[in-house]
């Protein structure tokens, strides 16, 4: 087994099935494309205090300025306190529900080369049953745990989503992204709700989902340890 060169890397695993459920295409590709937005959230956590900074009541205590999929800069919070109860949130959620194509694993048909400042897919394939659309299933995440059979050991986390082609034409996937959501609220309202792309890969091979078929897309994040 090869030794990971980086403390953290990811793989995209794709499996395409026809309308009878037979696997017709399968691949695994190393990701090369975490974005600056991902690093900015990490910066937000580095700047988070982890205790009560009284001067920040009713404000985010720490935030990251990310670029949303529409190209605008927005603040994604990583630590917040409000002078009301039921305050809390999440800085980088990906577990989107069925039919939600704004975050989680989102696929596209574009081929624009990647750079760290990417903030959106080149051409998103939207959720739906119309021409050129795929039916987005619910996101699932799995803690795959520590694998000590490789050297150095790695700890894996898997994000996965299914896509069904309910149209009468084939649909080709050429790019895969992970879009995260920062969401903070208190009893009185939502105070931060921002989407931002944290990874985008243009696939070395395109994947064609036939009419009535489906695709399963997994993103496996692997952290090398020791």
């Amino acid at each position: 087994m090869s030794q990971p060169l980086n403390p953290m890397r990811g793989f995209i695993e794709i499996e395409v099935r026809d309308r009878e459920g037979r696997v017709i295409q399968r691949g695994r590709h190393e990701m090369k494309s975490f974005t600056n937005n991902f690093l900015k959230i990490l910066e937000g956590f580095f700047n988070s205090y982890g205790n009560y900074p009284s001067e920040y009541v009713a404000k985010p205590a720490s935030k990251a300025t990310v670029v949303a999929p529409d190209g605008t800069s927005k603040d994604a919070w990583t630590e917040a306190y409000y002078d009301y109860h039921r305050c809390g949130g999440v800085a980088m959620a990906t577990r989107a529900g069925a039919g939600v194509d704004s975050y989680g694993i989102v696929v596209g048909s574009g081929t624009t080369p990647f750079n760290l400042n990417n903030y959106a897919l080149a051409t998103k394939i939207a959720h739906g049953t119309g021409a050129g659309q795929l039916n987005y299933d619910v996101m699932s995440l799995d803690d795959l745990g520590l694998d000590t059979s490789v050297s150095p050991p790695v700890y894996r986390v898997r994000l996965m989503r299914g896509f069904k082609n309910l149209t009468s034409s084939t649909i080709t996937i050429t790019e895969v992204s992970v879009i995260a959501r920062a969401y903070w609220k208190y009893t009185g309202g939502v105070v931060n709700d921002v989407l931002f792309l944290i990874a985008r890969d243009v696939l070395p091979t395109s994947y064609t989902v036939p009419a009535g078929g489906s695709a399963s897309v997994a993103v496996v994040i692997e952290v090398a340890m020791g």
Binding site: K40, G50, N51, A80, H85, V90, L116, N117, Y183
Partner: protein
Amino acid sequence: MIRAEVVVELDGREVYRGESKSFVQNFSKILFAILNGTGGVGLAYEGPVSSAVVQKPDGATTTVYGEYYTKYTPSAITSGGTAMGFKAGAGEDAWGILVGSGSDPVSPTQYNLSAKIPHGTDPGKLYYDVHTVTSSYSDTSSYVEIARSFINKSSQPVTVREVGLFARNRYQRADAIEVDVIFMVARDVLPNPVTVNPLGSLLIRYRVILTT
């Protein structure tokens, strides 16, 4: 591509720069808990949405939260928190960047330094300063860095052999602390010990680098 570096400066001079490969399993667990959040919960929701079980510095296991909302109380009080705070203040030696004198080999299941050097001015202690965070972003190469200075205010040399990065998962409402867990996410053993002489200073920098 993501990689990480540990940089050590002694009295203003860089004495070590090496690749950090020493994240521990607590890091992956809190990353999972954060990614496993959903967002979008209703205004009346309280409690956890996503969680993970980590190991605290004393070895006990406990639950931390990637997405969490404090509970209801019938008054306007300060509530909130974070899944992973690092920016401990001066004199705080429980979280953020910590240093130690132990040299046990790194392992994925470690949850503490081998032998922490505590904050203080007595022999065998170092004065823990505040953290600073810097970053740089471009199309092809970016980094974010957290750094902390340590000063030897004692009359005896202090030798550092290990460096750890500790996070704090904390949610509160006024003075009611609902969650407060400190846990180690990375530990590196330096290839050579670094001795900080009286009145000398040590700077530890953890840098995460992203390249195309």
